[in-house]
């Protein structure tokens, strides 16, 4: 086959928010990982109630630490995802989905078995 000299790859991220669309780079990150920009994900988790507000945004590191693992686990539990404690593809896809701005954790949970 004849390949062109230059290949342009067009990616369409139009269905994702500009702030959250690049979270795909965190897929498979787990405890101990260091990924540049993970502090942005920590801001997301703070925004929706999974990390304490007491930590200033500017103090977030890019490390996948113990506190962040707890936040990921809580997120997976609250969103009905498989609880892996890692940023698996299901978790990242859910994080990137458009959503309601109301926090997930200022609530009292009731569980009913059907």
């Amino acid at each position: 086959s004849i390949l062109p000299d230059k290949v342009t790859v067009i990616t369409n991220n139009s269905t994702h928010n500009a702030t959250w669309h690049d979270f795909t780079r965190f897929i498979d990150a787990e405890m101990g990982s260091h990924v540049i920009g993970m502090s942005e994900l920590k801001k997301y988790f703070t925004r929706f109630g999974y990390l304490p507000m007491t930590i200033s945004d500017s103090n977030f590191t890019d490390n996948f630490d113990t506190q962040f693992k707890s936040a990921v686990t809580l997120y997976q539990t609250k969103l009905g995802l498989p609880v892996t404690g890692k940023l698996d593809s299901d978790t990242i896809t859910t994080i990137m989905s458009p959503r309601c701005g109301v926090s997930d954790t200022a609530h009292k949970i009731h569980v009913t078995k059907h």
Binding site: N12, A18, G80, P98, R99, C100, H107, H110, H114
Partner: protein, 192 residues
């Protein structure tokens, strides 16, 4: 299902309770007609009132309405700035605050046949979800339920599920005309 901290609810003494709602005269979108927006919201409110003894009535008196609906861009003064297209779609407040805010930057749709954008968001689905918050429900972990926090573009999710109904009925009781069996039948048929 879940509730806001302290389990707040609207506490009128009359039964059935009637809550009024009004649309902002200034903070709206112009590419969907007001009559269509009102029709969609009316349907969303009626879904909730079919399961609890609460009626919703539209009023022109925005300032005194129990529920005040508007579309806002970015920072709109309540400390919860919207973030542009997608991301956060809307937010509302727990009882008895009544503020119901939609992000004006979204591509809102009342009909996916005419709106072709891949980023189109179904107004009725988001409205039904936000009314759940207005009534006192928090988010749920049940993916199929209306009160699940996320909604993909071009997706419609307007039918209340058992989780939504049990949650809101624990706050307000049941509408005497509501039958759980019909909800179970409809959920079973959709699962089939």
């Amino acid at each position: 299902y879940s509730y806001f901290y302290g389990k707040p609810r609207w506490s009128r003494r009359m039964s059935p309770m009637t809550l009024t709602y009004a649309f902002s005269s200034t903070d709206m979108i112009d590419y969907i007609s007001l009559s269509d927006i009102k029709l969609v919201l009316k349907r969303a409110f009626s879904r909730w009132s079919s399961v609890i003894p609460v009626n919703f009535k539209e009023t022109d008196k925005y300032e005194s309405a129990d529920i005040r609906i508007g579309f806002y861009h970015g920072d709109h003064g309540d400390g919860e700035a919207f973030d542009g297209a997608l991301g956060v779609l809307a937010h509302s407040f727990s009882p008895e605050n009544g503020r119901f805010h939609l992000d004006a930057a979204e591509t809102w749709a009342v009909d996916f046949e005419t709106v072709k954008s891949r980023a189109a968001i179904d107004l009725e689905s988001v409205a039904t979800h936000e009314i759940g918050h207005i009534l006192g429900l928090g988010h749920t972990s049940v993916k199929e339920a209306v009160m699940y926090p996320s909604l993909s573009p071009r997706t419609k999710k307007v039918d209340l599920k058992i989780d939504d109904v049990e949650g809101v009925q624990a706050l307000y009781g049941s509408n005497p005309n509501f039958k759980f069996s019909s909800l179970l039948e409809s959920e079973n048929s959709s699962n089939d």
